[in-house]
């Protein structure tokens, strides 16, 4: 039984809300944006057909406010809600409330989210399906955690039971660090997910983080859309993703794909989802299910030619996938660089402020999923992700070169961004060889020696800037009007 969707409410903000609105429009579906006070001029609000205010900047009043969002859906006549990622995306209660109200939740059914959200149950079932997992615990109190820690073994990770997106994860190398890490992890879990439960999991050094995209329909068909290599991370949050993974032998790749299907089947997964694995040499371990559309989904779209949001919408509406594994083919190589409002030169600290100007890259093989615009205030309330630059090319080498030139075109004025990190990384021989693991940022970037490639230019500019400061300048530093045509400027 399938529903014909005519109007979808997008319960998110930023680049992902924009991305979802795009697919809806292409399907001829009307869109409803919701927004917090600070987002009233945001891009997703401007692009949607209708827009409903939710409340204050605090996510609890706005993008996490299930009642207000359901109310907005009913009032506007939206038949479905797409939660994007983060916020309500993996919240079984949100999915259940939608079901109760007769609104389609574009994501897994509540029961599936409940299993995925209860990481210990999910692990148990997936382990029984023959997929290897790491030692860990279920949800634990601080006391239990202190006791269980030696059994799990150090180093270990504290993770939020309702977590995702790398938030609430703390690496603990020895027992003495545990009490303070538990406290921080609980605090973050509570503010980010409204659920302070945490669990422990063994941490392996020198691993690669590889995940497999799957899609399953209500009719019981399940396919994988290949893997994504996500080892370039800081604070357990991804910075660069690519597909196919440059470090997997064909036999291991095939095993991962099979394991992902087996794991998803074991928990009765429906809709688009991702199975995360740690890969260490030729060994791999299931980590967790990301029961949502992921930030890095565009690279999968670039190599498969599929639109994951459209697939999600069709599956949620009850339509069959209409394709077999054999129908899915992979072409070329795709990379994604996440552009976040952070200062990579100072430990990736959040960089807050107003975006003054933006120039986004374009040209062959480049896709930009962005939610930013001049005048936008980057506040502490939301995720620092501003935009994603995706490059596709027939080969990995060409895709990297293409990404480099795209990032040289990209300019964001007003806040610091991760762009300098990406430009540096895309020139590293070990990255070019595909030989990197999850310690890349702390070992390579954090300890790099500056190459000084632009020292002469920088010194000259500094001298010129001081020389010309505070005068009616001789040069065009301000007496000629800025080149507004080339820029989206305030």
């Amino acid at each position: 039984m399938s529903v014909r969707l005519q109007k979808v409410l997008v319960a998110n903000r930023g680049e992902i809300a924009v991305r979802i609105i795009r697919s809806c429009k292409e399907l001829g579906i009307k869109t409803v944006a919701v927004y917090s006070d600070v987002d009233r001029h945001a891009l997703h609000v401007r692009l949607a057909d209708e827009a409903v205010p939710l409340g204050g900047a605090n996510p609890l009043e706005s993008y996490l406010n299930i009642e207000a969002i359901l109310e907005a859906a009913k009032r506007t006549g939206a038949q479905a809600i797409h939660p994007g990622y983060g916020f309500l995306a993996e919240n079984p209660q949100a999915s259940a409330l939608c079901e109760r109200e007769g609104i389609v939740f574009i994501g897994p059914p509540a029961e599936v989210l409940r299993i995925c959200g209860d990481k210990s149950t999910a692990r148990e079932r997936i382990m029984r399906a023959g997929v290897p997992v790491l030692p860990g615990t279920g949800a634990v109190s601080d006391e239990e955690a202190l006791e269980a820690a030696s059994r799990v073994g150090f180093p270990l990770l504290i993770k939020a039971v309702s977590g995702g997106g790398g938030k609430g994860i703390h690496l603990v190398r020895e027992k003495s660090e545990l009490p303070s890490a538990l406290r921080l992890a609980r605090g973050e879990a509570k503010t980010s997910f409204g659920d302070e439960r945490i669990y422990l999991e063994r941490w392996l050094e020198r691993t690669r983080h590889v995940e497999v995209q799957i899609v399953a329909d209500h009719q019981g068909r399940i396919v994988h859309l290949g893997e994504r290599e996500c080892s370039i991370q800081r604070r357990h949050q991804k910075l660069i993703e690519e597909t196919p993974s440059p470090g997997l032998r064909p036999s291991l790749r095939a095993k991962l794909h099979e394991a992902a299907i087996a794991a998803a089947s074991a928990i009765g997964y429906i809709n688009a989802g991702t199975l995360e694995f740690l890969v260490s040499g030729e060994e791999f371990y299931f980590l967790e299910v990301n029961a949502r559309l992921q930030v890095e989904h565009p690279i999968t779209e670039m190599v498969t030619g599929l639109d994951l949001v459209k697939l999600q919408i069709r599956v949620a509406a009850g339509e069959p996938l209409g394709m077999n594994q054999g129908d899915i083919t992979f072409h070329g190589h795709a990379l994604e660089c996440r552009i976040s409002a952070e200062d990579p030169h100072r430990g990736f600290f959040p960089s807050l402020g107003r975006i003054l100007a933006v120039r986004e890259p374009s040209g062959p093989g480049i896709r930009v999923d962005s939610g930013i615009y001049p005048g936008m205030e980057v506040t502490r309330h939301y995720d620092p992700l501003l935009a994603k630059v995706v490059a596709w090319a027939p080969t990995r080498e060409e895709a990297i070169l293409r990404m480099r030139r795209a990032l040289e075109e990209l300019v964001i004025v007003g806040v610091d961004t991760t762009v300098p990190f990406h430009l540096w990384t895309l020139n590293r021989p070990e990255f070019l060889r595909g030989e990197y693991d999850t310690r890349f940022v702390e070992e390579r970037w954090a300890r790099r020696e500056r190459e000084g490639a632009y020292e002469t230019e920088a010194v000259l500019l500094a001298a010129a800037a001081v020389h010309l400061r505070g005068r009616r300048p001789l040069l065009s530093i301000s007496h000629r009007p800025p080149l507004r045509n080339a820029w989206r400027s305030q």
Binding site: L352, D383, V411, P420, A458, A464, H467
Partner: protein
């Protein structure tokens, strides 16, 4: 003809600046270059150096000039050759008081110390939250808390003094 020292850490670079009509010529390491600079957005410049073309960000943080080109960031102090007036002395009395500042704007989740508390270097004195991340702010030194300037629940600015510790 003007002469500047561009200082980066221990390294000093000497740059000569000449203005000729509408043009600016800079000499550095024996090479004289015509320098043309066009502002294309706030803090963003298109620069031509003897025909070489590039874009760079130039901004000020106090007296520091920050230049960003591609993956690199340079932080310079620039001094004209005319020596600046010597900085007045007499700050010694206050040097033993260490302020603990918020490293970035955010919400102060908790303050872990009270006035008069003894603290050890590295001990957490406050917890700050920004963009869903919580971080401990540690005592930079061992000493006694002389003043607490912020309360839990308060929004603080980057660089705002939270606590002052008097070294022992």
């Amino acid at each position: 003809m003007f002469r500047y020292y561009v200082l980066e850490g221990e390294t000093a670079h000497e740059v000569l600046v000449e203005e000729t009509g509408e043009s600016l010529f800079l000499t550095f390491r024996g090479v004289r270059r015509k320098v043309e600079i066009t502002q294309v957005a706030p803090t963003r410049y298109h620069v031509r150096l003897n025909g070489k073309s590039l874009e760079a960000t130039v901004r000020w943080e106090g007296q520091t000039v920050i230049v960003e080109i591609g993956p690199e960031r340079y932080e310079f102090q620039v001094r004209p050759l005319v020596p600046a007036r010597a900085r007045p002395r007499g700050e010694e009395a206050e040097t033993r008081a260490s302020p603990v500042v918020a490293p970035m704007p955010g919400l102060l989740v908790s303050v872990e110390v009270r006035e008069g508390d003894r603290v050890n270097r590295g001990q957490p004195v406050a917890i700050l939250e920004a963009m869903k991340m919580q971080m401990e702010i540690h005592a930079p030194t061992t000493g006694v808390v002389r003043a607490v300037h912020a309360q839990p629940g308060q929004e603080v600015k980057g660089g705002q003094v939270l606590v002052v510790i008097r070294e022992l």
